[in-house]
Amino acid sequence: MIAYADADGAEPSPSEIAHAIARAARASLDAGKFDVALKPLSADDVKQAAEDRPVGHDRLAQDANLVLLDAGALIAYAPYCARVVLASDPFDLDFRKAFGLDADAARIRLHDALIGAASVVALGRPVFDAVTPLLPRRPEHREYPPLALRESSSADAPILVVNNEEPSTGQELTALLASAFPAQRFLCAGPRMAFEHAWKAVLQIGAAVSSRIGERLCDAWAGGVPLLQLVDPASLGAHRRRQAARRLEIVVDHGKSGLLYASLEEFTTGLGDFLIDPLPARAVARAARRRIDSAADWDGLLKAVLQ
């Protein structure tokens, strides 16, 4: 059973993730192996449970596979020593607003739940980085499997701009592109933006270090959306050591998984070429989509969470 409670700000919301996991379990290569039930909790449920189930008195769920997804469920089921999946930093929440709880008490209870958990899976690097220093056992780091963006070849489909550099850089660049290509609609990535439209292309500014779902390279790849990326080779050096293994996840392989440009001039020219003749970029996007194996990624995650 996956328990979750939606709280403001989390994206994607715990309920979206819970449903995605349940869907993936049904469609999994191991379908039938996982029988996932969902247990949505309201803010009142969370608050009431926090009062009714003091930490210290451990509890055992009838369902041995109780999975707690994010802060709300962790607070509610803190004494259960359950499996925990974190899709966002559970401490980074307005507890008063979300659940009507005192922030300090909620944080202490959350921490108790985490140190008592049977296992903790952190979805995404930022979550892993946020919780690892606080826990005696290192959580398991997993990436949320690719979530396909929708592709559109319609002439008036917008272009998604994902800025991984300073905010001002992104704004300036978008303004510049808008003036260079006035017929196009450039939309800067923001909360919930990525899945609200079908995209003509995705423009990545800088190495794609954002782990926000919808803004990763793999989400564009999964949807077969053409990808154009501008990366200053010098700045790539900063990612050289730590993220050497991740390079393929944050920078496109030119001509194979996207189109890579080293200067703004080249990038603008490349975008112009794409708008005149999108076929080469779409061919690359189709090839990139073939490299994505969402089912395998989901199976890996399901095993980590449910087995």
């Binding site: 009062e51 009714d52 189930r53 003091p54 930490v55 210290g56 008195h57 451990d58 509890r59 055992l60 769920a61 009838q62 004494p79 020593c81 401490f91 922030a103 300090d104 944080r107 202490i108 921490h111 108790d112 140190i115 008592g116 690892t132 220093p133 606080l134 826990l135 005696p136 780091h141 010098a234 700045s235 050096g237 900063a238 050289r240 050591r241 730590r242 293994a245």
Partner: protein, 799 residues
Amino acid sequence: MTARRIAWLSPYGPRSDIGAFTKCILPHLRGEEGEGLSCDLFVNAHGPTYDSQVPTVDIPAGGAIGELLSQYDAAVFNLGNNVQNHGEIVGALRRMPGIAILHDYSYHHYFANKCFDKSHAPAAYAKLMWDVYGAAGFNMALRSGVVTRDVTFYAPWDGETVVDYPLTQPLAKLSAAVIVHSRFMEEKVAAYFKGPILRLFLPSDQKASPTDEDIARWRAETAAQDRCRFATFGHIGRSKCLDAILIAISQSPLLRARAHLTIAGHPGDKEYVREIEAMTARLGLARQVTFEFSVTTERLLAIKREADVFLNLRYPNTEGASGSLIEMMNAGKPVIAYRSGCYAEAPDDAVLLIARDGGSDAIADAMEALASDPERRIAIGDAARRRVAAQDSAAYAREFRSFVADIAGSLRRRSRLWAPVRDGLAWRLDAVAPEDKLWFEDLTRARRSLAHLERDATALSPEMFLRWPVDDLVSFVARVLLNAPVQGGLMLLLVDLIQRLGRWQFYRLISKVRLYQSLCEQKEFAKEDVAIFGERIVDVAFWEVATRLNPEIFARLLYLCVLERNCAPGEWENWTKRIGAGLLPSLVLLEFLASAEYRQNFPDGAMNDVEAWARRVGAPATDRLDRRARAAWPAETDIHFNDDDPVSEALLGQLWHRRDAQGRWSDGRTGDLRFLLPEEAVNGAVLKARLRVAGTAITGKRRITAMCNRRELSVIAISSDAPATWNIPIPADLYSKEGISLLLMADQEFTPAAHGVSADRRSLGLMLIEARLCVAGGKSDSPPKEGANVLSIGQGRRA
């Protein structure tokens, strides 16, 4: 009427006195037909066990029988301080509240074993002490040294402080009801325990004792004899105060002449046993004192028969009641004991109680008084035997049965609150009766505290950061968590950070520092750790704290958190040495940020804030260094670095070894020169340096970079160990009022001993042999000459 069913949890073998207690009590619990208790015995297995007349089973590991125990009318947990004999019993008590028989006054050893032997968790121990005793307990733990990595002055569980910090509370509060064996314990427990307490006694028939005939025979003999036989028995340890007894005998002519002392018992504390054996020899008491280690039951009985007087001194007193005192009293002989703890309750006519602050004199007085007065010996012994005679195991069982019947209601209510509880059998919070509310709050806290000892051994909980007073929190962070040198204002910095960041962000910051600290404490970084955690940390607050860590940790941290890489064996030691020699950590951080490696790999300026901070913090120190080195480099003059002359000394910075015959080796990869430009160098200058490196045959070509103010001035590649000449341009615009700080940075260092080249274990970067400053427009083309004279210190161009 159906007999009540009870589960009796106890050690049950000869390795535990509590095992003997259980063996003595169990047969009496059934009582007379229809009114007694039906008992199942759950044994904390440790060594051989006695035969049992009741159904018996070993307690499973971790005491995982809470649900089963809840099916009994009562579960009785015999608790002692020894982990081997009681660990599983405590495990079971954590799962189900029952009747706890507190045999000891202190349970500090139990927790010490858990925190130090099992989980190496000094921080968790410090937190526990704060949870139970507040700031006083926490500060005691700090003072003792056991929770820091400095010197340990004493172990709180073995020292005198154990009387004030017995750590009984966390275990007592797990219980539904408590049985104690002394008024002393009853008063202590009643101060915090919110439930029924029964005061009983240790049964006098637990151990074999002299018969009435033996005692009658002794009375006749002791009245007639001139000599007096003293005896003491039981586990031999420092708390028995045997050293004080030996001093007392040695100081008393009467005792020297007429007393004999038998010290019998298990020599548990070997160091102490050696100490008192040596003391006996030194004081010349070989004739008066006999040691009998690990005596048999028969021999112990013989000692009881033969002795005229028993000594039973105890300090610190950690017992809830004294089995040995009851045993001695039941032998019909007088006992000398300190008037403290449970001993103080002994009736004055039945035990000779003395004050501990009377020292050896008080002991000698008491021994002399009894040695010289046989009638008094007989009178006190007689009173003692009469006193304990009625307190036998049958009486104990009778009162116990009555107690179980009396508290049946509250016991039933409370014992339902077992944990972990399955959803199918779950109790709800509203199952807690109003009269149990306060007790339940204590139970919750106790269970959580014990769970934290296991789950949060490194004390990562935010609780301390969010709830503790600032003073305690700061001490905890500085001395326990970071274990950093507190000199140099670390405490003030932490207070400042709490105010600046708020408690929650302060918690996250310290947690992050601790994570990296723990990585740097490992012998070497695991590849996986470097891949995961090797990242530049751009948070200035992190570095504010990190620069206060132990130099070794800090030096290693720089590789991980600035260069994002592992450090080669020995690479960080030079930095540790330099920090040890007085180089500020913030300056070391600056050197990392100014290194060619950093600049080549990370041109993005992400750490600019950190660099600005380090520069600000290091500025006063740099000023200090500059003042020392404020000397103008004499223009057009050859400076030789194999001399100890004041000119070359004034130009060299701190990063050099002592001079060699040929020149100066840098201590590690980097050497530093600090100087003012002479008046003539108005348009800049060129420093012509003659230098060499070592070990190129092994390490290959070496590359040296000259840096000033983070500017790369020149690079030279050297492919052999032969001296090379290098022209380093010094542009005029580099000049500032602080002068020039020139860093010569080799890409590798070389330690000859590590490669078997020689016995030289020094880390060698580059050797500066001689140098000449050629000013623009001056005689700059002439190479450095040997033997030229030097001078003009302090006559530099002023900014």
